[in-house]
Structures are given as C-alpha cells and as structure tokens.
C-alpha cells in the first residue's frame, strides 16, 4: 500500500495518543458516559485514539453491549436443567443458538428488532431488518429457510399508520421475497402506544448438518481475514459525524446517509456464496456485519478466538472514499461478511467470490499476540485487547421499582366498568359481537399483509398463515421439519410484566404444539421503553424473570434473542412487548395439524376450562378498557395440553386444531370455520354449566391453556380416552356442518360464513387499500 493511493487524514495513531494525553475527544457526542470514557482510558492505560474511541463507543452502546439488561438476561442461562441442555448444540452468546433435530440435522433461529429505522423509513428499515437477521443465520453455517415478521403499529385509523404499514410490509416482502425465503408467519397488532414507535421484529430460521456449524472466531496464526460482500459506505454513522473532523485534506467529507438502503440481490448472492464456502469447508470462522460493522466483527472474531488479529484498514473497499478510519470502523453498511481463511484455501475462496461476482478484500491475519491491531497505511491506530471491546463493556444495575400506578391499574377490572355497560347477551347482540370481534383491527384477517409475502418459495413450506404455526420441511426424505410461532401481548404485559411475558411464551408454545410439533427452543425480542426509567426497568426485569422461570418450567431453553430499549415517544414508553418465538420439531411434517376443519360430521372438542377472564382481552380493548389482571398462567396445563395435541397429531386422532388466545373461543370458532369455508354447529351449555360461566364469557374470555380440535368419528373414543387418562378437561361442543355455510352457535343468531368472511377480511383493505 503506497501513500499516494491512500487518503490523507489527520491520523490519530496510538503513538500520538500516548504523547498527547490531554487531547479533547468527542466521547460524549459518540454516546459514551464520563464513567465509561474513564474506563476506556483505564483499560488502555492511555487515552484512546479516534479510531479506538469509535470502536468502544459503538461496542459499548446499549444495542451492542446489553449493558442495562445483561444482569437480568443471565437468568436465561442459569435457569436451565441438564435435560434442557441436551439438544442445545450452541447456546446464547453466538450469533444465534443451534438446536439438535436428530439425524445429523441442526436448526438455528433468532428474532431481532428493527424498530426505530422502520419508523423513519418504513420500507428500508423493515427490509434491512430482514437482511440483518438472515445474515446472523448464515454466519452460523446454516442455509436460511424461512422468515417471520411480528409487527406492531399505531392506531389503525391514525393518519401516519398507513405510511408505516405500507412501507414495512412492502419492505419485508421486497427483501424477503427476493431472497427466496418463504414468510411463514408473524403478528400484526394495532395500538396507539406504538404510534411514534412501531415495532418491526424479524425472525429467521436456518438448517444445517451438525458438522457445518460455524462459529464466529478467529483462530490459527497466519490465517487470513477477509471482508466480502457490499462495499463500505457511510451508513449508520450519521450521529457520529464528529469523526469526520479527522479529515483534513481537501476532499470534503460527503454527507452521511440518514437511512440505509437494502440490496436484497446482493444478500441473495451472499447467501449462495457463503453456502458454497461452507460446502467446500473454505472458512474457519465467519461473522456477519451488523450493528457496529467492522468494529464488532474484528473484535468479536478476535476475542472468541485464541490469538489476536491484525488488520489494515485502507484495504477495505469503500463506496464513499471520504470515510475516515473511525467511520469505516463504525459503518453499518449492509450485506457484508467477514471470514477467516487458511492460506491454503485462499485460491479456492477467491474462485467462489469470482463465480458469484462478489467483491472481497483481504484485510489482515490472525496473530498470536492476543491483541487486535488495526493499522491505517501501516500506522497503528488501534491496539486493544479485543475482549475489552467485545465482551467487557460496562454493565449497569439500573434501579427499578414496581410503578406506583401498577396497583391502581390492576384494581380496575373490566367487569362492572363503564366500558362493560350493555354487555351483549341476546342472540342478536352476541352475533353482532362475534362479527365485530373478528372484524376488529387486531383480530381481522391478516391476508392483506400475508398475500404480499411468498409462502411457497423453496417448496418446503408445509404450513403458513393463517395457521397457528409455520411449518417447514428440513429433510425431504424423512419429512423431518420444524414449526415456529411468535407471540406477545403488550396489554397483558402492561397489566403484569412477570405473567405477561409468561403468557407470551405460553401462547407461542401452544401454537407450536397445536401444529403437532414438540416445542424445543425459544428466542425472544424484548421491546421495552427506556431502562433509565425505573418503571420500565421494573417491567423489563419482571418480564425476564417471568420468561426465564416459565422456560424452565416448560423445559424449553432460550437459545438467543435481542433486547430493544428506548422504545418510547417522549417520556411515554410503549407497552412492554416481549415477543417470544418458539421452535418445535415434527418428525414428519405430513402429520402437521391445520387450524381449520373440513370433514362433514366430525366432532369438535374444546380442550381446557374457561374462567371469567376479560381483563386485557380483545373485547375489553375494543371497548377501550385496559386494566385488571391478565389471564392466569398455568404452565402445567399448557404442558399437558401440548402433549395431548402432539400425541393426537402423531397418532392421527385429530384433523384440525386451533389454540384459543386473543379473542377467545369466538375468534377460534370463526377462524376454524373460515379456514376452509366449512361451517359448524356448536352448543356450549355443557361447558357453561361445568365452568360456571355465561355464554358471553364462554365466547370472549381469554383463559389460557385451551384449544379446539376436530376429531374424526372413528377416533373419538381413542381421543377422549386419552384426555380422560390424562385428566384433561375436554368437552364435545359440536360438529362440523359442511352444508350449512354458517357457524351456528346455540344462543347466538346464525352467522353466515360469507358475512363473517366479509367482516374478517374487509378490515385491512378498508384502511390500507
């Protein structure tokens, strides 16, 4: 590298830093606190260089260091039994956890947030959210096989909601569809608490053979470090423009992009190219570039390895030649990967790059010094212990306390409230209520969204929306596959964060079991407000405690996830929204259970008992009430229900199954009827007598641990015997009636399927075109 070819900057070398201890540095502008900056100085034994400051500031940010949540997140690793560890091949801490599926197969999945970028520029924000999570999956050595997108927007009728909704959905589709990854599920919630802070979470799942698992570490002195994929631009360093002052030659720095634009084509090529590298065993370690870009990739690879790393930064291929060293280190340009390659494999590696026309540049090599050394044109600008950057960031025990208002909120129950006045009870008003429920913003059909997603690509999708879980085949010979569901209920979690988080897990677990799959692993995305607000911090602490306790009780380990904090508008936080994803396994996806019934005359059973639980429900929400206690959590019941649903699927005892959650039995009956356009006759008197509830409550209560199943006549005895043997409440509530074209519920006016469909499917098109 000659000096003529590299740009001249006022380079702050390590040598210079040692000589000029009193130089003012813009650490505050870069988001560091005084104590954190002091810690950097202490760690280094001198002031940091500009480049080092850039690295520490991004790596010690909340987003990268989990400094507010780390102390709590530990519980996910602690509350784990040996039994739960059995199938965990890679646990928390890597890019994504890996779970054993048997037969030499492994699966990796993870959920992440891209909330604030999706508010600023919904299309690109959501698109790059998909891009980022997919790279996490590739970097484990896996082929990505599906994506999901839990979404939360502001009020459906707010003028800004359409902008975010249109953009985010088009962005997820535009990026995901172009990658050839089927979208197999997600969520859609409208609530004004998300108006200025929508939640756009993205999940990706990938599969691999055990021996193909790759980890992000740089080992083996002399191995080469390579950066490949897109060129590095000024993306994601907008706030850090203070670093541009490093520049002193005549080329003025260009503007830094306010948002990042995704290039799904580049990512698709990157996926195929990485799979070819894995297939040829051409990389020793690999790491995607996401938040904190090269800072993160180099320091994590180096600190996870057994040596050190030396990197020449002028070798990075740039999209914008005015970038300074610090900016290059911080850039979050998309569609890039970093890998470690042995010298023998260089040629083969380059051949793969040429084949796919992917740009790459060799940046340096693995050393045995234990230091991460970054040079600029040969001069040392970073000389750090990589662990101090990647792993030893600050950790805070932020103060938290149960909010003063919590008791008042919990005391304000729906039953008897002004919003509860005139509760429907006549056949006509109940029919109107059911119709209103299934047309409501949160309960209406999501087809407007999901029709914009490719659910077929790959040819392995065995189930997708609107069923309870997405199911993808992994092994074409045996039919081995996985099922996935994501859930969260911000209202429940607001009413009681500990139990609300457990309810999110319970619902996702139930959805997976309903499909017939055995729940195996959990990934979570914790979307909360500011951790500096003790109320919010309490919500976060409680949610993590609740979730980790429940994972332990259900025997499903958390294998990875993401924390997204500061989700608030001004000082008003969103509802605490822990989005929980559960992954399950099906030995043969042919056995999956869809959510709708088809066969005339089949018996319909309601599993589980119903209590009067309307607080936080969709019904209460539709009436503008939020208070009281969320439905009771009963994990033993969830587990028992899950076992029944799984056995029933495996042994062919049920043809359909749909869990009860938001909207209760009313929503489930309508959805199961509309799934294939087949009606049913339902009588709930026995259930009402047994459980001591009225018809309205039987239909609209959101008691957990329930499901409805369609049982072939020939299987009824076997199925009910199984439930009886397990002591699980079950009631025959009706039969499938293929000819009627209606959902007939005793005590409720007949609901024609055509009218229900119009109500259910008309809502999103009405608002969004």
């Amino acid at each position: 590298m000659t000096t003529e070819t590299t740009k001249k900057f006022n380079i702050d070398t390590v040598e210079n830093a040692a000589k000029t201890p009193d130089t003012e540095l813009p650490w505050a502008e870069l988001g560091l606190k005084q104590n954190e900056f002091d810690e950097v100085v202490k760690v280094l034994g001198r002031r940091p260089t500009g480049a080092e400051l850039a690295m520490y500031s991004v790596m010690w940010s909340e987003h990268c260091s989990y400094k507010s949540s780390k102390n709590h997140l530990r519980q996910f690793g602690q509350k784990v039994t040996e039994e739960m560890k059995k199938d965990m091949l890679v646990g928390i801490g890597e890019n994504a956890g890996v779970t054993n599926l048997g037969d030499g197969w492994a699966v990796t999945f993870k959920i992440e947030s891209h909330n604030s970028p999706s508010f600023v520029e919904p299309y690109q924000g959501a698109a790059t959210g998909i891009g980022g999570i997919v790279r996490d999956i590739i970097s484990m050595g896996a082929r990505p096989v599906a994506v999901m997108d839990p979404l939360r927007f502001g009020a459906i009728d707010h003028p800004d909601t359409a902008r975010v909704m249109h953009g985010a959905v088009a962005g997820i589709g535009g990026y995901g569809n172009s990658l050839g990854l089927p979208n197999i599920g997600g969520e859609m919630v409208f609530d004004s608490v998300y108006q200025g802070n929508p939640l756009v979470n993205a999940l990706a799942v990938g599969v691999m053979r055990h021996e193909d698992i790759r980890l992000a570490n740089a080992s083996g002195k002399g191995n080469k470090v390579v950066l490949f994929g897109a060129r590095t631009g000024g993306d994601g360093i907008g706030g850090a423009s203070v670093l541009a002052s490093e520049s002193f030659d005549d080329t003025k720095p260009s503007k830094r992009p306010a948002v990042q634009v995704g290039d799904p084509f580049a990512e698709k090529v990157l996926i195929e190219c990485c799979l070819e590298l894995f297939k040829g065993s051409l990389v020793e370690g690999i790491q995607d570039l996401g938040a904190a870009g090269i800072s993160c990739a180099t320091s994590e690879l180096a600190s996870n390895g057994d040596g050190g790393m030396q990197v020449e930064l002028t070798s990075v291929l740039l999209r914008d030649p005015t970038l300074t060293p610090g900016e290059i280190l911080m850039s979050e340009s998309q569609e890039r990967m970093m890998a470690v390659v042995t010298p023998e494999n260089i040629e083969a590696f380059e051949a793969v790059m040429e084949k796919w026309a992917v740009e790459y540049s060799w940046l340096g090599e693995v050393t045995d010094t234990g230091r991460l050394i970054i040079t600029w044109d040969g001069e040392v600008i970073v000389d750090v212990d990589p662990r101090t950057v990647a792993h030893d960031g600050p950790v805070y025990d932020r103060p938290y306390a149960r909010p003063e208002w919590q008791d008042a909120v919990q005391a304000d129950t729906f039953t008897g409230s002004v919003q509860d006045a005139g509760r429907p009870s006549s056949p006509a008003s109940l029919a109107a209520a059911v119709t209103e429920l299934v047309a409501s913003p949160n309960m209406c059909s999501k087809a407007w969204i999901t029709n914009q997603y490719d659910r077929y690509v790959g040819g392995n999708t065995a189930m997708a929306f609107p069923d309870d879980a997405g199911v993808v085949r992994v092994d074409e010979e045996s039919g081995l596959g996985v099922a996935l569901a994501t859930d969260a209920n911000g209202r429940y979690t607001y009413l009681d964060p500990y139990h609300g988080a457990q309810l999110a897990l319970a619902e996702a677990y139930r959805n997976v079991a309903t499909s017939g799959a055995v729940p195996m692993a959990v990934s979570d995305c914790l979307n909360f407000g500011s951790p500096e607000d003790p109320d919010v911090m309490w919500q976060l602490a409680e949610a993590i405690r609740g979730l980790s306790d429940a994972c332990m009780e259900l025997g499903v380990p958390v294998t990875g996830g993401n924390v997204s904090l500061y989700n608030q508008t001004g000082t008003t936080p969103i509802h605490p929204s822990p989005v929980v994803a559960v992954l399950g396994k099906l030995d043969d996806v042919a056995r999956r259970t869809p959510s709708g019934w088809r066969e005339d005359g089949q018996a319909i059973y309601l599993l589980g008992t119903t209590a009067a639980e309307l607080d936080g429900s969709e019904w209460a929400n539709m009436r503008g009430h939020l208070g009281g206690q969320p439905p009771k959590v009963d994990l033993a019941t969830e587990r028992a229900l899950g076992e029944i649903l799984i056995n029933a699927s495996r042994d062919g005892m049920v043809d359909s199954a749909h869990d009860l959650s938001e909207g209760g039995l009313a929503a489930a009956l309508v959805e199961s009827s509309l799934r294939y356009g087949v009606g049913a006759r339902i009588a709930l008197q026995d259930v009402m007598d047994r459980d001591g509830v009225d018809l309205f409550t039987a239909l609209f209560s959101e008691t957990q641990g329930r499901a409805i199943v369609g049982v072939p006549r020939s299987e009824e005895v076997r199925f009910t015997d199984m439930c009886t043997a397990r002591g699980f409440a079950h009631a025959r509530i009706g039969v499938v009636d293929a000819a009627s074209g209606a959902l007939e519920i005793n005590g409720v006016d007949s609901l024609s399927l055509d009218a229900l469909r119009e109500a259910h499917e008309g809502t999103l098109p009405k608002y969004f075109g």
Binding site: R209, K268, L275, R473
Partner: protein, 257 residues
C-alpha cells in the same frame, strides 16, 4: 466434513423409469430463487434435472430447459433485463429457434427473461395494484399441444400458486390478436385477474409451441402437502403443476400422451 445437502436435492425419483433418461436443464442466474423447486419438479415427474449456470457457454446434452422464477439481478432495471444477456441465454435462444426446437419453459422471472430475449412477444409491467401478490390461482389450459401442456386437456382448469410484482402482461393489440388467432395463448387466468394482464393472459408460447412462458408457478404444485390445497385449501389439488414436467418428459422419450 460432509457436504451440506441442499434442501431439495434428496428426493426419491418417482415412477416411470423410462423417463429418467430425459435430461432437463434448470438455469440459475444470480438472484434466481426457484431453481431448486424446478429441479425437484423435474425429479418428481420422473426426469433428471441438470443444473445450468448462467455463465456457461454450452447447454451440454440437455433435452429441454426450464428458466425458473426469482429476481435475477434483483430485477432492478426491469425484470429479466440483465439476465437476458447471459452467455447461456444466447445458446438457449439458438437452440429454441433451431430445427431441433429445444423445449424451453420460462416461469415467472423466466417468462420475463424470455420476453426480454424476444423468444416470446410482449412484456410484463408492474401489477396494476402495484403490490407483490402471492395467491393460489386458477388457470385454464387453452392449448394442450405445446411441449409443456401435452398432458393436459384443452379447457382443463388447474390451480397453481402465483407470486410476483411485475406480472401484468401487455402487448400491442395486433400482437394479442395474432396470439389468439394462432392459439398461442396457452394459459388464461380464471375467476380473477391478479395483475391486470391483457385478455387475462397468464402464459403464451412461440409459434412452434416449444417455448412456453407463464407467470404462475407450476413447480410449486407438484407435491402433496406443499401445494395450494395444503397451504390454502381453496380448491384444486396439490399437484396440478406436475403435468408441465411430465408433458415434456413424455415428449422427449417419445411416449404418447
């Protein structure tokens, strides 16, 4: 280290051993998505799928070619615009136009590439509703004499998935009239026109009937449990698309319809 078995590679070959000798090339461009699916469809129909790479300069000894769906080069300029200039495309164009009349099927992005290559007339523009749309689509097979439709009856209705953003077929009126007159409208949308295509056209052929292009995806309707019936359950069967592949295989091995 063992090889990563790519999903879709390990499928048992179906019945009819006599078809296995027929070799169907499946082209991959950068950005192609449905190549594994097309190869699976060929195998499920009983044939042998041969991967072809866009940069190859020979077609090898394939008996037919499928240009699958996806977003070649991101579809950034226009769908299919850049892919059409790939070295392999000129071989495919020559072979399709030669006396041997190599059977070529373009699905979705493949159809767009075929129009950009002028193997088929007209072009695709953005869907009239401007959104990506994925749905199960009923098609009527208007012409059962092309290389890819021999196993269907004329007038037969089939259900296959449709998924695209730029699927609106357009051509000059006189071109459309010519296509109709020559029986080259091979598939028409039934019940619902998902993208505003002129005259409900879903797929067309060249004059000789060896080159066929369509927007919907027959390769996603070839396997019980993974097609329209299982995923959407609104009519048809899961395997309505298999006929495309058995048609060409039967034609190649010289079997009767």
């Amino acid at each position: 280290m063992t090889e990563l078995p790519l999903i879709g590679e390990a499928i048992a070959v179906a019945a009819e051993p006599r078809l296995a000798g027929a070799r169907i090339g499946v082209v991959t461009f950068p950005g192609t998505l449905d190549d594994r699916d097309a190869a699976r469809a060929v195998r499920l129909a009983g044939g042998t799928a041969v991967p072809l790479w866009h940069a190859d300069t020979t077609l090898g000894d394939v008996d037919a070619v499928v240009i699958p769906g996806g977003f070649s080069y991101g579809d950034y300029l226009r769908a299919g615009a850049i892919a059409r200039f790939a070295p392999l495309m000129s071989k495919i164009i020559d072979a399709a136009n030669s006396d041997a009349k190599l059977p070529v099927l373009g699905i979705c992005n493949g159809f767009q590439i075929l129009t950009e290559s002028h193997l088929l007339p007209g072009s695709m523009i953005k869907n009239d509703h401007l959104k990506f749309m994925c749905r199960d689509q009923v098609l009527r097979v208007e012409n059962s004499n092309t290389a890819w439709t021999l196993d269907y009856e004329a007038g037969q209705e089939i259900t296959v998935p449709l998924k695209n953003q730029d699927g609106q077929y357009i051509a000059e009126e006189k071109v459309l009239d010519g296509l109709e007159a020559e029986g080259r409208v091979v598939f028409r949308y039934v019940g619902f026109n998902p993208n505003g295509s002129r005259r409900d056209i879903a797929g067309i052929s060249n004059a000789a009937g060896n080159v066929v292009g369509l927007m919907p995806h027959p390769e996603h309707a070839v396997e019980v449990g993974f097609g329209p019936e299982s995923l959407d359950g609104i009519g048809g069967t899961d395997t309505d698309g298999l006929g495309f592949f058995t048609s060409v295989l039967n034609k190649i091995v010289g079997g009767a319809k």
